[in-house]
Subunit: 383 residues, 2 copies
C-alpha cells in the first residue's frame, strides 16, 4: 500500500508529523537574528538532553562524521588509543583511528557479546606511563543490539586519570540514560536520525573541559571537522559553515517534544519497548542475538536459525509495509533487527509483533502458539 | 508580514514548493531498492549537470566540506599547491591547505578584483620540476560577486600538465557554464543550497580519472571525507554512511526541474538577471563592487558610499520581507549583496529593485530618478 511505510529500523527512525512539516518550511537565512534565537534554544535543549553544562556542537555530517570529529580533534599522530570493537561500528572506529595514523589497540568481543570491562582495566592499569590518550567505546552497537557497559569501562578510564573517554552514543542518546557530566564523559557523539526523531543529516558532539585541554595540543589535521570553530561560533549562536537550516528547524520542534515528555519517560519508554519486543521474540521461539543483560534499548537483533532472515524482512515489507533492518557483513541474512528507537509507540511494537506472527506462519515457521508473541508483549505493556 | 520572506541571498536560495513538499515526505530506509533506484537517477542527473562522464559524488557536508574533500583526497603533506585568493572563500581554501600541512602559495587579488591568470602562468611555467600538485580556484567568489577566469587559469594548468585543477564551483555550478569534461576540470565542488534549489546539507564533488590516479598515492588522512568510499558506494547506487535522505528526495525533484528547463536556459536566465540587476544598480547610482567583465552570474555586490549598507538591508527586510546579504569581514556594512541564484524569477528581480528604490528614498538617498532602476531592468528583460 502506498504511503503506509512503518520504519522499524535503527535509522532513519520515524519522524513525527510536526517535524516533517517543519522540514517543509522555507529555509531562512542562517546569518539572521531569527536563526540565532532558534539556535540558542536548540543548543540549550541539546545540553539538557546530554545532561551537561559543557558544549554540545552541531555539525552537518552523519553519525560517522560526528564520531570521527570526536576522535580527531583531541589526538595527535601516533597517539595510543584503545577502541572497543564488538560490531560493525566498533570496527569502524578502529578503521578511523588507523586512517589517521593513531596507534590503535582494539579491545574485541564477538559480535553479539558485550565488551569485557576487565580487558580495558588490564590495559589501563598496565599503562603506568600514561601513554593511552583515549578510550573509544560504542555504547549501543547498532549492528548487534548489544549495549556495552559504559559505566564500568568509564570507571576504569577514570582510574587511569589521563585518557579521554570518547563515546559513540549514536543509538543510545535519547534512548538510554547517558548522563554526560555525572559520568564525566569527555566526548559523546550522536546523529539526528536516531533518538532525535528527525531525518539524517546532523551530527552532535559534546565536549568536556578536559577534552578541550587536549584539543589545544592535538595535531591531527582538520578544518571542516575542527570543533574549535564550532565552539567559537556556537557561543555566538551561529555556525562556522552554512548549516542544514531545515533540519535544525525540525530539531527545534522535536527537542521541544522531548522536553515535554521528559528524560525519565523517554528512557522508560525505550526500556519497556525493548522488554516487550524481547519477550515476544522469546515467545515466538526466535533466539535473541544479544543476552538480556546487554540488550540495547534501541534495537533488538533476532537470529533466524533454519530460516532466511531476509525472507522475513521481505515479506514484512510486502505484506505489512514494515521495514526491518537486516544483518550486516557476516550476519547478512542470519539476523533481522527491530528498531525501537525514537518516535516509536507501544502500538507500533504490537503492530510489528502481530505482523511478524503472520509472516512466520506464512513462511512455515510454526514453532510457536499463534498469538503468543503479542500476548508476551501485552504482559509487559500491561504492567 | 509573516511567511512572506523572499531570499535574495546567495544561500540558502529560494526552494520551489515541490522540493519543500518532497522534504516533508517521511524518510525511507537508505538500504532499500527504492532508495537505490532514486539515487541512480540522481547520480545520472548530477553527471548531466556537471557535463561529465566521470564520478559525481554526494556527501553529507556543506560546501566547505565538499571543497575540503576535493582537496585532501588528492594531496599529501608538504605538497605544493597554488590557491587563488580574492575573497573570503579563496582565503578559506588557503586556510584549509595550511591546516593540512600543504605548502600553500596564495595567488591573491584585492577583494572585488578578479584573479590574474598571468600570475598563475608565471608560477606554473617556472615550475619545471613539476612540484605544483594542484591549483585551487574559487570560480564565483560569493563574498564579492566576482567570477574568476576559470578557462584562462585552467589553460595554464593544462600547459603545466601535472597539476590538478580543483574548482570551488559552489555559486557557479547550475548558474554558469562549467563544462567539466570539455575543460578537463579534475575536481569540482559545490553545495545544495545554491543552484541546486534545495536547502543546505549536501555537498557534491566531481572527480576526473586523473584525480583518481592522484588519489592512489595521496597521503592526507581521511575517513568520513574519503572520496574513494563514496565512489565505491555510488557505483552500487548506495552511500558509505547514512545519507540525508530527505534532502536527496528533494534533490531528485529539483534536478528533474533543471533538466526540464535545460542547461542553456538556466545559464541564460542567470545571465539575464545579473544584467538586469547590474543595470538597475547603475541607474540608481549605486557603484557595483565588481566590474562588468568579472561579474558573477549568481550574486551582485553593491557598494554604498555615504550610506550604511546594513541600514538598507534592515529596511528591505522590515518593509518588504526581502533578505539581502551583507558584506563579510572588512566589507561589513560597506556593501550589500543581491543573490540571483537558483530558483529566482525575473519577477523577483523586479520586486527587489522596486523595493530597493523605496528603501533608498526612505533613507534619503535621492541621487536617482524614481523608477530608473526598474526601467533599466525592464530594458534588459524586454530584449
Amino acid at each position: 500500500m502506498d504511503d503506509k511505510l512503518m520504519l522499524m529500523i535503527p535509522g532513519p527512525t520515524p519522524v513525527p508529523e510536526a517535524a516533517l512539516l517543519a522540514l517543509a518550511k522555507h529555509p531562512i537565512g542562517h546569518r539572521t537574528s531569527e536563526f540565532s534565537n532558534m539556535m540558542g534554544e536548540v543548543t540549550q535543549n541539546l545540553k539538557w538532553l546530554h545532561q551537561t553544562e559543557s558544549d554540545v556542537l552541531m555539525l552537518n555530517v552523519s553519525g560517522t562524521g560526528a564520531v570521527e570529529a570526536g576522535m580527531i580533534n583531541f589526538l595527535s599522530p601516533g597517539d595510543r588509543i584503545l577502541v572497543g570493537s564488538n560490531g560493525k561500528f566498533g570496527e569502524r572506529w578502529v578503521e578511523v583511528g588507523q586512517a589517521f595514523g593513531l596507534n590503535v589497540e582494539a579491545i574485541t568481543a564477538e559480535w553479539g557479546q558485550p565488551l569485557d570491562p576487565d580487558k580495558f582495566a588490564q590495559k589501563l592499569q598496565a599503562d603506568t606511563n600514561k601513554e593511552i590518550k583515549a578510550v573509544i567505546i560504542t555504547h549501543s552497537e547498532t549492528s548487534t543490539g548489544v549495549i556495552n557497559d559504559l559505566v564500568a569501562i568509564n570507571s576504569h578510564v577514570k582510574e587511569h586519570g589521563q585518557a579521554l573517554i570518547i563515546v559513540d552514543a549514536v543509538t543510545s542518546l535519547g534512548a538510554y540514560n547517558v548522563p554526560v557530566d555525572a559520568l564525566g564523559l569527555d566526548v559523546v557523539a550522536s546523529g539526528s536520525q536516531k533518538g532525535y526523531m528527525i531525518p539524517p543529516g546532523l551530527g552532535f558532539v559534546s565536549v568536556s573541559p578536559k577534552a578541550w585541554e587536549a584539543y589545544k595540543t592535538a595535531k591531527l589535521p582538520k578544518y571542516y571537522l575542527d570543533l574549535g570553530k564550532y565552539r567559537k561560533a556556537t557561543a555566538k549562536n551561529t555556525t562556522p559553515f552554512t548549516p542544514p537550516v531545515n533540519l535544525m528547524v525540525a530539531l527545534h520542534t522535536t527537542l521541544g517534544m522531548m522536553k515535554k515528555e521528559g528524560l525519565e519517560s523517554i528512557f522508560t519508554r525505550h526500556e519497556r519497548q525493548k522488554n516487550a519486543t524481547r519477550a515476544a521474540m522469546k515467545a515466538l521461539n526466535l533466539p535473541l542475538f544479544a543476552a538480556d543483560e546487554c540488550a540495547s534499548p534501541a534495537i533488538t537483533a533476532v537470529a533466524t536459525p533454519g530460516m532466511e532472515a531476509d525472507k522475513i524482512r521481505s515479506l514484512m515489507k510486502k505484506r505489512f509495509d514494515i521495514a526491518l533492518a537486516g544483518g550486516q557483513d557476516h550476519l547478512s541474512n542470519k539476523i533481522f533487527r527491530v528498531g525501537h528507537l525514537g518516535f516509536v509507540s507501544d502500538r507500533d511494537i504490537l503492530s510489528c509483533i502481530a505482523s511478524l506472527e503472520v509472516v512466520l506462519l506464512e513462511l512455515g515457521h510454526e514453532n510457536f502458539n499463534s498469538g503468543a508473541g503479542v500476548a508476551a508483549a501485552a504482559r509487559v505493556f500491561s504492567n
